[in-house]
Symmetry: C2
Subunit: 391 residues, 2 copies
């Protein structure tokens, strides 16, 4: 009998319990033994739930149970979650999490503890919800040099953008609609300002190139300042506006990562990914472009990824997955990256190589230039909007 | 120093050697030791190539080298490849392959030998070329009950269909174009008649539900009989015609698998997958729909998947992946499956629940009905075309 505990019985934690209830048989078949939910650690009173007999309030119960194999951390945040994850790993438990904030900020340290204790710290659910992407990246694509990762990493903002593009409604209204549907929180800052997508692109970078990229080191631009006018001009010209996390390996060996709304040509598979769906495109030097698509959030999809990790941890009980990242990556800033740009409101469209999208609005695409040059051009022309274009 | 051999130095075999040449450093970093290509077994004379010093003509050299860890089988077919795979596994070598014909027909036996010898038999490259899909299916989605798998599994036919849909050219011409571009072989039967897609949907079924589905047991309809007229009517009505492999788990516990051209609504992510690209959509009861997209063929993409498996096999040298399928699945025939159908040439569109696509051509979609009922209806109406519709 393999056993695990859930710490934090919110959306993800209760989803994991539900997935075990739904799929106990196939899970036991995969493991060759039944999987038992031994403890649920939560400050809430669970005595009126079907989980009353496994509810505990003291972390030490988990920590001191030598027969407990795996701990799921679905507390969220980077305070209690950090302390309990450290202690669980130190106590020789495998830890599985969906907590992108913790992994992005403290993954390096936690993976080092896991290595020392010969246990697994796994976090497939931290990026793309239920979409398998981290394991394919570090395992199936292990024979590649990863060149670039581009993803729609946040379902809330993708829903809002889809409503702006297809419904023609402005940001504020679309946000209210997302809140009413439960897709956006009452304080939506982490989503709409791109912080959530930033944490996820950092985790993808960490795994792709083995060097730490901290969220606070990268440029993060959200969608709250996005004008419906630009969304409409882009649509009419065959582009969709998408909030993308993007990470690249540069020719000089440095890396770059940032989050910003981009114009994406309709021919790119990422352009058609709508509503709360996520998609991550990875470019390897052997495989070319591969894309992973699915629900990037929600209780059961996220719990699906957590359960996959629990099974993997138990199958590798005696052998740790060789996973981790080391010293800080040497980062190039967004100002150094070259790409085409969308500008609106330029008074004189004289730049060579520009493609006019709307004559009346003075909206056009520049040739490839650095963010620094694009900003200078926008300022010179008195432009009202400046957005990068995905090539 | 870890070492491997390549058996069969054609497109895939030479691609694997090239990926090692391109990416030796990151591969060694993943493995913690360099990876050495120790032998290439091929009947061709390789003395004028850079691989002259590793070329061998006698399989026994590989079989009898106790220091050889992994053998890549890229011979193709199910004769010599079967014998050498059996013997390599018996000799305690891990075997990695892209050979869908062999895996679909003899995977059960070969995985049983691998289990007995505690080595790995891995075949990520056999489905979807470079796209990570088998490992995500059996590992990342291990916490799900898999409900359905639908995929564009053959790049050649997807290229031909894309030309028919977007170029408006008939099948014969599109096939000639594909042959001229090297996408289709001179004898294109295995691709255009759906046999290749059939082998792949069988492998996906085998892994999803752990029971053997042999290609000769499933209905396989290709695209050679497809009329451009139906492709055009479907396009005008918001559907794309795609050759899909489809596998399902029925409510009564039986399974079904088949290959046929389908009408796919444009809103389905699979509809937008064009040219030689492949995409596989998997539905799990927790995760919902996830999709995997990329190049389904080609030397380097396929070699990317082979190299991922080599690295995995070496990382699991002492522990076999628990992979395999057992007795034959109980199969329901296509005649028992219910879905909507596209009919053209019906003389009287009186059926309730039908959706007219083209009045002048007598083309319409039926409500959900079994293939048997649809065939009877088509016969009764004297219909000129009958195709399933993906819901």
């Amino acid at each position: 009998m393999a056993s695990f505990a859930i710490m934090g019985f919110g959306t993800v934690g209760s989803g994991v319990a539900e997935v075990l209830r739904m799929n106990a048989d196939p899970i036991a078949e995969k493991l060759g033994e039944p999987l038992s939910l031994k403890y649920i650690l939560d400050v809430r009173d669970l005595s009126a739930t079907p989980y009353a007999d496994v509810a505990v309030k003291d972390f030490a119960v988990l920590e001191n149970d030598p027969a407990l194999d795996v701990v799921v951390e679905s507390i969220g945040g980077a305070k209690v979650a950090l302390e309990f994850t450290r202690r669980a790993l130190m106590a020789g438990k495998h830890v599985v999490t969906s907590n992108k904030e913790l992994v992005a900020a403290h993954g390096k340290e936690l993976l080092a503890i896991a290595r020392e204790k010969n246990v697994n710290y796994l976090f497939e659910a931290s990026v793309g919800g239920g979409i398998p992407v981290l394991r394919p990246l570090f395992q199936c694509l292990a024979g590649n040099r990863i060149e670039e990762i581009v993803g729609i990493l946040n379902g809330t903002t993708n829903y809002i953008l889809t409503r702006m593009v297809k419904g023609g409604i402005p940001f504020d209204e679309a946000l209210k609609e997302a809140q009413a549907k439960g897709y956006a929180e009452q304080n939506p800052a982490a989503d709409v300002e791109g912080l959530d997508a930033g944490r996820k692109i950092c985790i993808l970078s960490d795994l792709a190139w083995g060097k730490e990229v901290l969220p606070e080191k990268i440029t993060t631009q959200g969608i709250s300042g996005l004008d419906l006018k630009d969304v409409a001009i882009a649509s009419a010209a065959g582009y969709r506006v998408k909030l993308l996390g993007r990470a690249l390996k540069l020719a000089d060996g440095r890396q770059a990562a940032y989050v910003a709304p981009h114009l994406v040509p309709e021919s790119c598979p990422v352009a058609g990914v709508d509503d709360v769906f996520n998609a991550i495109m990875i470019r390897g030097n052997a495989v070319g472009d591969v894309m992973f698509y699915g629900r990037g959030a929600g209780d059961l999809p996220t719990a699906s990824a957590v359960m996959g990790d629990i099974i993997d941890a138990l199958q590798h009980r005696s052998k740790r997955r060789d996973l981790g990242w080391s010293e800080s990556a040497e980062l190039a800033g967004l100002d150094e990256l070259s790409m085409p740009w969308y500008l609106r409101g330029g008074s004189a469209l004289t730049a060579i190589g520009c493609k006019v999208l709307s004559e009346s609005d003075g909206a056009f695409l520049t040739g490839s230039m650095s963010a620094k040059e694009a900003k200078a051009l926008a300022e010179k022309l008195g432009a009202a909007a400046l957005l990068p274009v995905l090539q």
